[in-house]
Structures are given as C-alpha cells and as structure tokens.
Amino acid sequence: MDEKDRLEIIKDILFTDDREYIEKISERIALLEKTVNEKERLSSKVDPIIENQLEEFTKSIPTTLGPTITETLREQIRTQRDEVVDALFPILGKMIKKYIAQEMKALSEKIDSQFDFISKWKIRLKALFSGKKKKELLLQQLASAKIEQVLLIEKDSGILKASYSKTKTIDEEMVSGMLTAIKSFVEDAFNQQNQSLELIEYELYQIHLQSFVTHYMAVVISGPYGLKSKNRLQDLIFDFYNRYMAMNVDLVVDFPVLEKKTKKADKRTIERELASSFGNAKI
C-alpha cells in the first residue's frame, strides 16, 4: 500500500455516510489493522503523512460529520434515555439498569464534547500507524491526573468570579451555582461550621474544593487522583493564593464596607493568572 492508497482510505473514512459511520470505520480499521500488522515496517515512513492527515481529519469532523452525528445521538439519548433503559430493564435487571443509565449519561456527555470524541479516534489511528498498542496509549493518557478546569467562586452567592478551562463544554456559571448549593447543603446538614467540603466525586471526575475567606476554588480533575496529586494540587493552589489572591483585597477580606471602596480584581487578569498557574501544571 502506498501513500496514495492511504490517503484514499482516510478520505473514505471522512466521507462515509454518517448513519453507518461508526460501523464502517470499525470495519475499515479492522482491515487497516490487518494490513498494518503485515507491513509494520512501513509505519515509520507513513507516520508523518498520517499526522498531517489526522490534523485534517480532526479539523474537518466538526464541520462535516460531527454535527450530524452528535446531534442525532445526543437527541436520541436525551429524549429517549428512559425509554431505552426501560426497554432493556426486564432482561437486564436493576443493577445493570443503573449501570446503563450512567453509561448513557456519560456517553451523552462525551458526545457533547467533540474534543473527546476526536481524540479517541486519534489514539486509535495513531496506534495503528505507530505500532504501539492502543491499550498502551490509552493507559499512558490515563495514567496521570489532569486539571480540567479551575473555578474561582464567590463563597456565599456562588457567583463565578473567574475560570480556567481546557475545553469549554459546560456552563461554568451554572456549575458554580450548583457546587455552591451542594457545598452549602453538606456543610449545613452536617453542621460543620469550621470544616468545609473538600472533595466531590462526579462520575469520571473529582472536584477538589479549597475554601478561602470570601472565595473558594473548585478544581476539576480527571484521571487517578491520589494523595500525591492532591499534595501537588494543594501546593499549586496555595502558590496561586500567595502570588495573586493575597494581593487583591476583595478576594480575601470579608468586610462589607470594604466592598464599595476597594477596586475589585478584574476578571481578565485573574483568568490570566489562573491559566498561567494551572494551565500546564502537572499534578
């Protein structure tokens, strides 16, 4: 198979009828997999071209196939999630029902973020051509905890002050409100005046909460979040606090009279600080 053939295959993948899209892709990938296994030595020559094509592939999905697929699937799952689950219920039993409901939800969220979708295929294709096993690559990606999002939230009102996020997929203002409501509820219900809620687990994510005087910070993390990561994250947070927040009176002082007099830290500056503190940080 020469370069041209490979381009043809990629083209085919891109323009397959979207209803059978996933099926056909798997078929084709199986076929490719076979070919590649046989001619593994080719891979070093082809890699650069594939990288290139992947770029194109990634770029064109959102404009060509992406919207149709995501719209259809999302709509189906959203409007008929209960029906789908209920239909399966008699066969699968309660446990599985719950599992599926969760999976469906996770899936619809996944689809919501096209980035995830594409990066998955990217891994698959990369694995094909670089000779590495897909599993290995996935594991590599999963092996470390990652900061997905950082929200700086006003403690009482739950109003979002500033944020940093890798991919904007959810409404951060609403999430801030919800987190604050949860936090208020838990802290009130367990009557923990001096202690505060530290961690929320939500499906695949962990949300680390760090309270200050007038604000708190919510850091959304994906991947395995252990003690080591937690320590590193806390360092980052306190670093940020010392470097930036402590210098801005309105972010740290809880004194109503001050509010009117002090100049408030502006959103854009804080967001820049957040990005530089958390953007490329490894935890």
């Binding site: 006003e154 403690k155 009482d156 009102s157 739950g158 109003i159 979002l160 409404d171 203002e173 609403m174 409100g177 919800m178 409501a181 208020s184 509820f185 802290e187 009130d188 959103k267």
Partner: protein
C-alpha cells in the same frame, strides 16, 4: 462587563416556582408535577437596550410550607428574591405577611418581588376581590402556563439588579 446576580425563588410547595423559571428560561410548560428536591440552578442572560447584559443565576429552592425552615446558607449572598404564591390555594398566601417578615429578616436589603401564580385557573374579578379582602399585596399576577406576565416579572428583577 457582564454582571452575574444570584436570585432565589421561594414559596410554598407546588405554587409553580419551577414552572415560572422554566417558562422564563425555556419558554415551555408542563402539567406534570415534579417536586424540586434541594436546589435547582438555571441561568438566563438578559440584555438591555444600552447593550448591558446581566446573567441571572436562578436558584429554584424546594418549596416549604414553613418559610422558616429554609436552609439559611442557600440564601447567603442573594442579590434578589421572588416570593411566589398560588392564587388558587389560599393556604399558600394566608400567612404572607409573616412569611415576608421572616424573609426580610433572613435577607435584609435584598429586593423582593411577590408573584401570585396560576391566574389562568381563576376568574380575574373574583381574584381581585379575594386579594383585596385579604389585604394581599403583590407585584405580579402570572401564569406559567399561558406565560402572561412571567417575563415582565423577571425583567423587572433584572432591572432592579442592573445598577445595584
């Protein structure tokens, strides 16, 4: 710059708090009753002629027949509040004076608008008489079902909060 404001919606069970928000945010209505548990948060961005916008973060609190039972932390930092009653069920507005007194104590200086909801279910003339006789004051009489006066109520709140 866009301002964000926290607005809480309070009132007894089933008076239509969730429905009013739904009408305002999604312009839709459902006859099904799904009790709100805890808090539900929604958001709507409102624009003004001046080009200014404010982001209304709406806290839809679970209904309670005893307003004193509301968890105080939910009310912290509130910029504006609605008190909703059901014009069809006197029990939801009989003690409105006391309810409002409790609220203004819990949230001093927070602008509060009073809404009588479900006007589509009653005769307007009878309603006026009833409210007058019971000395019930209100800011808006709405129907989440037909949509009448719903947007007006929320926009009024937005206007109140715009310059605050």
């Amino acid at each position: 710059m866009q301002k964000s404001k926290k607005i809480v919606i309070l009132g007894h069970f089933g008076v239509g708090k969730t429905s009013l928000i739904r009408r305002f945010v999604k312009n839709s209505f459902s006859d099904k009753y799904k009790v709100t548990i805890g808090v539900h948060i929604s958001k709507k961005v409102v624009g003004f002629g001046s080009g200014e916008t404010i982001s209304m973060i709406l806290w839809d609190l679970e209904g309670t027949d005893d307003i004193r039972m509301i968890r105080n932390p939910y009310l912290l930092g509130t910029h504006g509040a609605f008190f909703v009653f059901d014009v069809n069920r006197p029990s939801t507005f009989q003690n409105i004076q006391e309810d409002l007194a409790v609220l203004s104590k819990k949230m001093p200086e927070v602008p509060l608008l009073i809404i009588g909801n479900k006007v589509d279910l009653v005769n307007q003339d009878d309603l006026n008489i009833l409210l007058k006789e019971n000395d019930i004051s209100f800011d808006f009489l709405t129907s989440a079902k037909t949509g009448e006066w719903v947007e007006d109520a929320f926009l009024q709140m937005a206007t109140l909060l715009k310059d605050a």
